[in-house]
Each structure stands twice: as C-alpha cells, then as structure tokens.
Assembly symmetry: C2
Homo-oligomer: 555 residues x 2
Amino acid sequence: MPKKQRLRVVPLGGLDEIGKNMTVVECGDDMVVIDAGLMFPDAEHPGVDLILPDYSYVLKRRDKLRGIVITHGHEDHTGSLPYLLKDLGRPVPVLGTKLTLGLIKGKLNEHGIKKAKLREVRSGGHVSLGQLGFDFIAVNHSIPDGVALFIRTPVGNILHTGDFKLDQTPIDGRFTDYDALAKAARQGVLLLMSDSTNAENPGYSKPEANVGESLRAIFRAVEGRIVVASFASHIHRMQQICDAAVGSGRTVVVTGRSMVNNTAIARELGYLDVDEDRIVDAYDAASLPPEKTVVLCTGSQGEPLSALARMANRDHKTVQLEPSDTVIISASPVPGNEMAVGRVINRLAKAGIEVLHKGNADIHVSGHAGSEELKIMLNLVRPRFFMPIHGESRHLRAHGRLAEQVGIHRDDVFIMENGDCLELASDSARLAEHVGAGVVYVDGLSVGDLSQVVLRDRQQLARDGIVTVVVAVDAQDGRVVGEPEIVARGVAVGGETSDLHEGAMARVKKALAKMESEGVTDHSIIERAVREGLSQYLWEAVRTRPMIIPIVMAV
Amino acid sequence: MPKKQRLRVVPLGGLDEIGKNMTVVECGDDMVVIDAGLMFPDAEHPGVDLILPDYSYVLKRRDKLRGIVITHGHEDHTGSLPYLLKDLGRPVPVLGTKLTLGLIKGKLNEHGIKKAKLREVRSGGHVSLGQLGFDFIAVNHSIPDGVALFIRTPVGNILHTGDFKLDQTPIDGRFTDYDALAKAARQGVLLLMSDSTNAENPGYSKPEANVGESLRAIFRAVEGRIVVASFASHIHRMQQICDAAVGSGRTVVVTGRSMVNNTAIARELGYLDVDEDRIVDAYDAASLPPEKTVVLCTGSQGEPLSALARMANRDHKTVQLEPSDTVIISASPVPGNEMAVGRVINRLAKAGIEVLHKGNADIHVSGHAGSEELKIMLNLVRPRFFMPIHGESRHLRAHGRLAEQVGIHRDDVFIMENGDCLELASDSARLAEHVGAGVVYVDGLSVGDLSQVVLRDRQQLARDGIVTVVVAVDAQDGRVVGEPEIVARGVAVGGETSDLHEGAMARVKKALAKMESEGVTDHSIIERAVREGLSQYLWEAVRTRPMIIPIVMAV
C-alpha cells in the first residue's frame, strides 16, 4: 500500500440543493467522478433552461480521471454527463447498471455523442478504476437498478448510498442489499455519504407496492377513461399502472415524448413487462373505447408542453378528455412546481374531470428513505465519519442530527458545501481548501455565458419593466438634436399613458436643458442626468422603479 | 311581501381562486356586498402588489347599496374594502363583529379613510339592510369572531358560511353555532353558499387546541431562545403561543409590523389575554436572556422583508439568533410560497438553527372545514340549492361532489364563475346573464392601469430579456445617419458579447441597407425589417428570442 496518500472527497453539486449531484473522489493520481447531474431552474432563474454543476475542477485534472460512475438513471444524476463528456474531449469510461446506461444512451444520442465508453456493471459486481475499487450494491429507489457504492481506497473505505429507500416489499423483488452493507461495515467504513432528501420526514417511506393496491382499487371503481401522469423514469410505477390496467381489462396508451422513449427502453431491456397487445402508441388508440383505456403520460409536474397539460388545454393530438374520465397524478410536485400542477388540476376540474392526486388519494410514495430508514443505514454501516449529501441545507442538518442521535460524534459529522474538500487519512478527516464550485446556466445554445448580472436584470425587468430614452446629439457641438424618444415596456402605466408620458418627457427635457446650460457634452454624464431625472419622476408619479436605459447618440 | 321580486346572487371574487372574496346579494332595490377581499399575486403576475376583484358592477348600482357585510377579518375578505369605499364616494355602512372591525379600522387608517360608517354586530344578533335581514352566526375559523350569515329575503333565505371549520374544543369556548344553523334549516334555506377551501381534504380538520399541546411540549423541551412565526391575524394561535411561553417561564417578544399592530388590537379588544409584563416590544427585549424568551414574529410565508427573513439574513435590528435557538413556523405555506418559505428554512438551518415546521412537527392545523365537516354543514342546513364558494375550480367541484353524496341533486348544485349571476325564485334557481367580473391590479400607486399586455411583456422580459436598436435617420431624406446603437439587457450572451454584438450589428446594417436600396423611408417598415433581421440572427446564433425594440429616430 503506498503510504501517505491523500484521499480527497469533493462534492461539486447536490449540497444545499436538490439536484445536480456530482462528487469527486481522488486518491493519489486517480480520480473518479460519482454522478453527473443537472438541476431544473426555479422562479429565481427566469429563462434559464438547465443548471449544471461547475465541474472545472474535474476538467483541470482530467488526466487523472479514471472513470465516471453513475448510481442511477435520474436526470439529477445523469443530466450533465453529455456536457461533461464533450468538455473532457477524451473518452472516459462511464459505469452504470443496465437500465442506467440504457437511459444515458438515449440522452447522449440527443446530444449527438456517439463514441461514449459505456461500461455496464451489475449490482454485486466489482470494478477497479486505478487504485479505487468499486463494489456496486443494490438499493431501492424510484427507478430500478439503483446502486450504492462501496469504494475501497488505500486510505480507507467510503460508502456512498446514491439515492435510496428501504422497501421491504419491492415490486421487482430486488431489495436494498443489507448483507453487502453489513459486509462493508465489517471491512470498516471510513466515510459514509448518505442521501438526505427525506431526512426531515419522520418514520419510514411507504413501500411502492402500496401504490399498486390503490391503483387497482381505483381502476376497478372507475368507469370512464383513466389517465395516469407520472415520472417517465419511474419504471416500477409504470409496471404497476400496466398491471392494474391489464387486470381491469384495459389497454395502456402511452403519450408524451419521454414516456414513449422510456417505456420503449424499459421494455427492451426487460425492466417493464407488459404484453405487446396491451400497450399501444397514442396514434393507434383511436379505436379503443374510453372505458377500456388507461393513458400513461408525462406532465405530473404541470409542465406546460407536456401531454397532460395539452389534454387539460384540449389541444392534445389524439386524446380528448370527457367529464366521465378520471385523471390520476401519481407523483409529488417537486418544490416550486406546486402552482403549475395546481393550474393543470384546476383546468381539468373545470372540464368536470375528477382528479386524484397526492392530496386526496394514496397514489404516490417517495423513493427516498425517511428518518428511521436513514438511522438504519447509519447503524448498519457504522462509519467513522459521516457526510450527509443530496439535500438542501435543512435536510443535511436534519440528517446530521440523526447521525448524532445514533451515536456519531458531532465532530465526526461533516456538513459541507459544494466545492468543499474533505481530506481523509486512515483515522482522521479534515476540511481542506475550498476548490470553488458554482453553477453553469444553460440558456438556449449558450452554456455558461449567463451571468448573475443577466439574471438580476431579468428579475428587475419582470418586476418593474424598462424605459428606454433616446437622445440624439450633434456629433460636432454636442447639442441635443430633435425630440427625445421614450419607449416603455412592462411598466405599470396602462393605456392612459399620455399624462405620464408627457410628464416623463418634460422631466427628460428639463434634465437635458440643465446639461446644456452647464455646457456638459459628455455622454455618460448626460445619460446619468436623464436616468436620475426620469427615475425620480416615475417614483413620485406612480411609485414604480423600472430599469431606465438612456441612450445618447451622436449624429 | 312584494311579489315577483328577483333575488340575485353574484359572486365577484373567490371562485376559481383562493382570495379576493366578494359576493353581491340583490333583491329589488336593495343590494348588499358580502366581504371585500384582495388576493396576493403569484409568479404569473410579476411586479404586481395586490389583486382586487373588479367591483364595477357594485359601483354602477351604488345607489342600491345598503351595506357591506364582512364575515371575518382576514385580508382575503377585507383587503379591497379601502379601495371600494374610496370608489363608492359615499359612506356606506360596513358591518362586522368587534375584532373584524378592529382590524379593518387599522387598514382604513393606513389608507387615510377617516369617516367610514363601521357598525359593530354580535354573533347571535340581527340587522336589516333594506329588505334583506341578516342574522350573524358564530363559526370557528383561524381568526376569532368569524360569522356565517343567515340572510332573510322576500324570495327565500340564504345561508353564507363565510370561512369556517367545526372545532369541538375551541380555545375561546366559542363554538360554531349548531343551534342557529339548525334553526335556519327549520326556517328553510333556499341557497347555501359554503366554504370550499378544504373540500378535497379527507376527514376533519384538527382542533386548534392540538397545536397548543405540541407547543407546550416543545417549549418545555427547548433550552435556547424560541422564535415562532405565524399569521398575524391568527389570534388563537398567538394566545396559545403566549400561554405556552408563560407556562414555561418565558416572556413573549413581539416583532414584525403586522404582528405588533394585531397583538395590540387583539389585547385592546379583549381577544388576547396575556399579562402586561409577559409581552414586550422587540426594542425592550435586549435584557432578556434567550432561554427566557419567545419571539413571536411575522414571516411564516417567507416574505423577504418580514421579521423572520431578517433574522435568517442576520439583519434584524434587535434579534440575533444563535445556533442553540429553535425556530417554529406555525403556519402552512400558501400555495406559491413554498419556495420562499424553503429559502428561509435553509438559511436558518445553515446557521445551525433547528427549524420546526408543518412537515416535521404538529405545529399547525387548518382553519377550514375538511370534507366530513362540509357534509355536516350540508346535512345541518339542508338547502334547496347549493353554491360552493371560496375555492379554486378543483375545490368547488370537489365540494359539489360532496353535496351530491349527501343527496343534493346535481342540477341543484351551481358551480359558478366570478361574475356569473344566480337568479332565484321561491323554488327555482337559474343562471342569468354574466355580469362581467375581472381583476384589478394594484402596482405602486397605480390601481387598475396594469393590463394583461404589460404582464405578458414582463414575463417575456424575464424569460428572454430585451434588445433595443436605435437608428437615426435624416429627417429630410430618410437616409440612415451614423451608426445604429444596440443595447441588450437580460439577454444570455454573457461577458464575451463582442462576437454576438458584431454579428447583430452586421445583421441590422444589412437590413438597413436593403431598406435604403429599395428606397423605403417609412419608419414602421424599417423598424419591422430591423426587428425581423435581428430576431432571426439571435435565434440562429444562440437560440434566444428576446423582446426587440427598434427605434427609428428622425434627426
């Protein structure tokens, strides 16, 4: 064993947030990236399409990078992979289980990445990446084929749970592998990194099979068409929906791009089992009577262009809903999506359609471990040090308190921030230098060009609108030529703008006259005078503070 | 009794939404407005301060208006009253119970309205307004002194529940008055209008006293300072917080403007009972040791300028939180506020402070009746016709289904929209003409000037930003003078704008050259050409579609 090696663990994403999970594990000359996720923007990020972790730390050390290990196929663990692979510019092995790689393959294709080195692993299997050894341990989650990672290093062993729950009746019979976790504990776990998403939730998450029971009861009772919206990656849920459909003599109609793609991938790879003649494309469903139909669709987050939103707006190409139909939203709104989901529910309700959702029916369970399950994980693994991962600040702290409750000393719990570096020796751990980690915004084709300034501008524009004032000045003597021009957008002055417009114009002219009388010809000084005068006027007149853009133009 | 009178019920707000409740009841020459609420804007309404119901229907008939009856003191029932009173321009009696009027008085003062005709009523009391007779019936709600209304008219009787729940152990001993409701039923209820907010929630809402139990247990267990954020109008909750504080040897420190105002009003009017020396202003609290303190504050909705948000941001003037402190958010986030509340929780968690909230502790119950309670109301009142009110589309329909379940015929359930008019005779009801009802936005000092166009503009500005292009042309010959000027704000082109800016400039010049070669001098045609050219360029180059404002200026 090489002596005095440094083991470094650097989370680049997934701390203080739900999403864009990415962690670097580094030992000597070997580095591995665990997960490469993205995050979907909230209202604080108007116009942003995606948010990626800032992985420049990885790019700077790309020669040491032995592989990228993906714990499961959710986008908050896989979504930045296409960007990372392009930026790396050399084929780095990507390791994951069969379904995980199947879903990744689809995404890489969309990005035109053909030559990725995808390496399939099995839970129970082992792979070495330089001097880092990886054991893949089956865990339950809201997508099949998820794994935790037992990472052997010359300094000590790490257990990274990925996202997990403990389901005692998993519908695919694949349990979180308690034996493998216990074995890891026997070999000694220097550091446990564990999923904190539900650390605030008391007790246990309910088993996925509960949803199947509810669905079967609903499918038996309902007479009209049934529409079920869920996460397109939740193959277990799809299986239960298909089973309930077939069991009640219905055929499953699949609609929504990602739902169509993922059911195809899942069936091809053997993760979704439904007879060929009981699952059809929406275009082939016209002949099916509503009472013999279950529509399986996207849109559980209220996404405005999704299949469910289109049905609610009556502009879905093939499915026209009737008041006798029942819609089931078999999902939980991701924080920030509550209003969007509510809008879809209200639109459906208004059309007389009954909507069952998490608030009024038992049709969803979480894929993350509740606080009691997290304590089981801690007690099973008995780590020397503990780092809660995958969660907002509140969840990381709550998870830290759980660890203290089961006897881990407060000083051995490391609650970190993205870009913090934990340096480990065989019996010690310390926070080393912060390596810097931020966010990269994807907006249209632009990756990383969007600055905080632009976002702040957008927020101001949204709140107060913008007024542009153009003043032409003589290029020779700097004197104002003609009338200024004032154009407002998004400003709360309504139709009757004339008074306000006149007042604004008067104030601009007053500012210009003052500049002229003082002999000022410097454009930036004139612009400032115009901005200040107009800003003051609008605040006094209508208590609004739009962005003001003065343009002095020499002609 | 005058024959052939028409009884009309027109909800102007509160349907298909939670907020801005307002209903008109009209019989012959007499009209009464029930409630005059406002709504707080969501992310769909950037920059809007408040949303009012469009009450122009009332203003047009102001001579018939005999009074405004307010069921309770929440802002979604009182908030548009200052605007309505100003617009009415004559003193119309405003009727409400003592606390309701106490809270209204404060609001009217803020608006500089001195001469309102406030008429205090008691639950159990009766008032006639023209030929409309009003009995005031006590109901439980998340504010004291709420009433339902039994309205006697020449055509038939109406029961309007206001907002209510059935609390079997109300902490002030004031029960929903079952006897009065039964008596109303015996006299015959032609139309029941009932609160639908929680119609989707199975079962019963829990009693308010449960929260007191939880608070007492927490207050006993916690060692450091306790901060409790709640709704400033929830006087029962305040009472329980004060009782738990006193019971655990602590003094209550009140902070946050509306919390300070409302505790003062509630104590003055006898609704909040706490010893003078156990409740102090934040400025007098410096000498109190943290473990002897309970801070009662605003901010339960994550409002950025509230007391709690300031504490979380470490810029509260008098309260500096320590990691040993505990924060309790004794409220539920209003839909749309989840993210804002989450941000405050995360900021507190990051400072090491434990936060108890609805998701991890029993520290809040709803003030609205759940589905079983709603069925009790329906069975108690046994109305001929039923109109669910106070709720989004989903809640109104769910309430309609509850009515069907207890035996009201579907045709006798009227699910209406704001501005719909229900016309009633002694044994019939029909939807009459739609009277028109919209929304009025308050933005700064501007009331009602904000149009949908402005809101759409703001949304586009937020998403994609704005590019202004200024072109100076010779006033005589229409030829372009000098260089065009291009200014972008909120556009995703980042710091390295040079390439993009150059490309954009080239495309603008190309468009101008084409116009010149074709001899076009019409400003609007030149503007269109500039807009189209630039729009196409930006889409091709960076897949972004900002708002483009071309300004052609004659000099």
